[in-house]
């Protein structure tokens, strides 16, 4: 027997770019994250050929998760074709040989920056969210060690106080993206800067969500069928962004999350932010369209979960 028979052929990179040592560490952390919904698990966060802050957290999770039989979709603010998404997708495909797709229903792993697709994800799909700031307490407690103690004690009083102050000053909750949520009735979690529109999608979802911050070296998870509740008061409720009256300029659809495109005359036009979904609307006979989180009248699929329907 020769050495050549024993060793595998020389490769320029390990499968998935990361070496096995790095992948094992990430995988151990991901398992603990799933066992502790919403708890931020520290991890090593390796160097990658893109700069931290450009999706390295999500990328590391995707690379250690992906196998040759996976199909991957990468989006950036809903778009499959933005520079960041296209780069990440090409890198993942080169390093793992996976198939790539724009179709939410076909993908097994969806890496996303700041959006959840409009079509409902199903069991067995993994949503990987890139997280710039994993700490939902940062604006009330900049000291990371003290914030950890607050999580340990489930001491979230200052967050409620912050909400109350917003009500007193502005008459409504001012959090836009990354609206804080309570996961499994225990941990306060930042859902990453997804719009409020997407936040309820995580509640009792069929899919597994993994959130990872490469720069901050923390990852956390929302397992399938887990309670994820936006913070709100008994008498003042969480509300999603108002999409009423907005009509997609490409597909004429309503009641989906829209990008606003300011026009020279001061008016605005709107376009559905989920480009994969728009493509399906425009060519209805080419791909199967799944059920969406919000129906055509803007009603969320879990009845009664969003209590405030007079959105702000």
């Amino acid at each position: 027997m020769k050495l050549k028979q024993l060793a595998h052929a020389r490769q320029d990179y390990s499968y998935g770019f990361l070496d096995e040592f790095a992948k094992r560490e990430l995988r151990r952390r991901m398992l603990k994250a799933i066992a502790l919904p919403g708890y931020q698990v520290p991890y090593a966060s390796r160097e990658l050929p893109i700069a931290r802050g450009w999706g390295t957290g999500g990328l590391q999770v995707t690379l250690s998760l992906a196998g040759p039989r996976d199909t991957i979709k990468v989006i950036d603010q809903g778009a499959d074709d933005s520079v960041n998404a296209a780069n990440l997708r090409r890198f993942i495909a080169r390093m793992t040989g996976v198939e790539t797709t724009d179709d939410t229903l076909r993908a097994t792993i969806i890496q996303s920056r700041h959006r959840i697709p409009e079509e409902r994800l199903r069991e067995g799909q993994v949503l990987v969210l890139q997280v710039p700031d994993p700490e939902p307490l940062r604006h009330v407690q900049p000291d990371i060690a003290k914030a950890r103690a607050m999580h340990a004690d489930a001491d979230y009083a200052q967050v409620w106080l912050g909400l109350y102050e917003q009500l007193v000053r502005f008459g409504r909750f001012m959090n836009g993206a990354s609206y804080p949520v309570i996961v499994h009735n225990r941990y306060l979690m930042s859902p990453s800067p997804i719009p409020r529109w997407d936040t309820p999608d995580l509640h009792q979802a069929a899919h597994l969500t993994l959130l990872s911050a490469g720069r901050e070296k923390r990852l956390y998870a929302v397992p399938p069928y887990t309670d994820v509740r936006p913070v709100e008061f008994e008498d003042v409720f969480f509300a999603v962004e108002d999409q009423r009256g907005r009509i997609c300029m490409l597909s004429s659809a309503r009641n989906k999350f829209m990008d606003e495109l300011p026009q020279p005359d001061g008016s605005s036009r709107f376009r559905i932010s989920d480009t994969g979904y728009v493509a399906k609307l425009l060519k209805p006979d080419q791909a199967e369209r799944g059920a969406t989180y919000y129906d055509d009248d803007g009603r969320f699929y879990i009845e009664g979960f969003i209590k405030n329907n007079t959105a702000v």
């Binding site: 595998h8 490769q11 320029d12 990179y13 390990s14 499968y15 998935g16 096995e20 040592f21 992948k23 094992r24 560490e25 995988r27 151990r28 952390r29 991901m30 398992l31 603990k32 994250a33 799933i34 066992a35 502790l36 919904p37 708890y39 698990v41 250690s64 998760l65 196998g67 040759p68 495909a93 080169r94 390093m95 793992t96 040989g97 069991e123 067995g124 950890r148 103690a149 999580h151 340990a152 004690d153 499994h184 225990r186 941990y187 009792q204 597994l208 397992p223 399938p224 069928y225 887990t226 309670d227």
Partner: protein, 182 residues
């Protein structure tokens, strides 16, 4: 440049990990490992532990195999990955001391991998994250007193997480799963 391909070891580690992940994501729902029996425990060791981690196992042959990963053999009260191909009544007393993490770092807790027989014996009802409503799990081959011990060990978020292995079948039970029916 051509896309790097999986080596045999990497492919095994990947399929073991995805089985562990989906087992934990859907507690009580069976997943398949690439190998069965004692080899399954070795494969899980190869996929999960290395010189950054500690392990414990009462099984001499398995301890020898797991030591090759570079992980440190540690006592039950310190080991983060504990492998019990067969859990006996004598293991229960020391298991009280298995690490459950701290409130600041609940992830610094033990993960238990326990051999059992799935599909017969106790009929348990499971509830919690990963389970839509409730589900059932039939399980035998664990010593009397194990389930009360687990209940006492878990003070969420403190507690340990476990996988139950029968041949090449695996079921996960994270600390969030509430179990009734024993």
């Amino acid at each position: 440049m051509i896309a790097p391909t999986l080596t045999k070891d990497e492919a095994d580690a990947h399929s073991v990990f995805t089985a562990l992940m989906w087992a934990l994501g859907h507690p009580g729902c069976e997943q398949r490992l690439p190998t069965g029996g004692l080899r399954a425990f070795e494969a899980i060791g190869a996929a999960l532990i290395d010189l950054e981690t500690s392990f414990y196992t009462p099984d001499g042959a398995l301890a020898h195999a797991l030591a090759r990963t570079g992980a440190r053999l540690a006592p039950i009260d310190a080991a983060h990955y504990q492998f019990y191909p067969e859990l006996t009544v004598h293991d229960l007393d020391p298991l009280h001391a298995a690490p459950v993490g701290s409130y600041a770092y609940p992830d610094e807790s033990a993960s238990l991998l326990i051999g059992c027989r799935l599909g017969s014996g106790l009929n348990l009802t499971l509830r919690g994250p990963g389970i839509q409503g409730s589900s059932t799990l039939r399980i035998a081959g664990l010593p009397e007193g194990f389930w009360p011990l687990r209940k006492n060990a878990i003070r969420y978020p403190l507690g340990w997480d476990m996988w139950l292995i029968d041949g090449d079948r695996i079921v996960g039970l994270p600390r969030t799963t509430v179990i009734e029916g024993y």
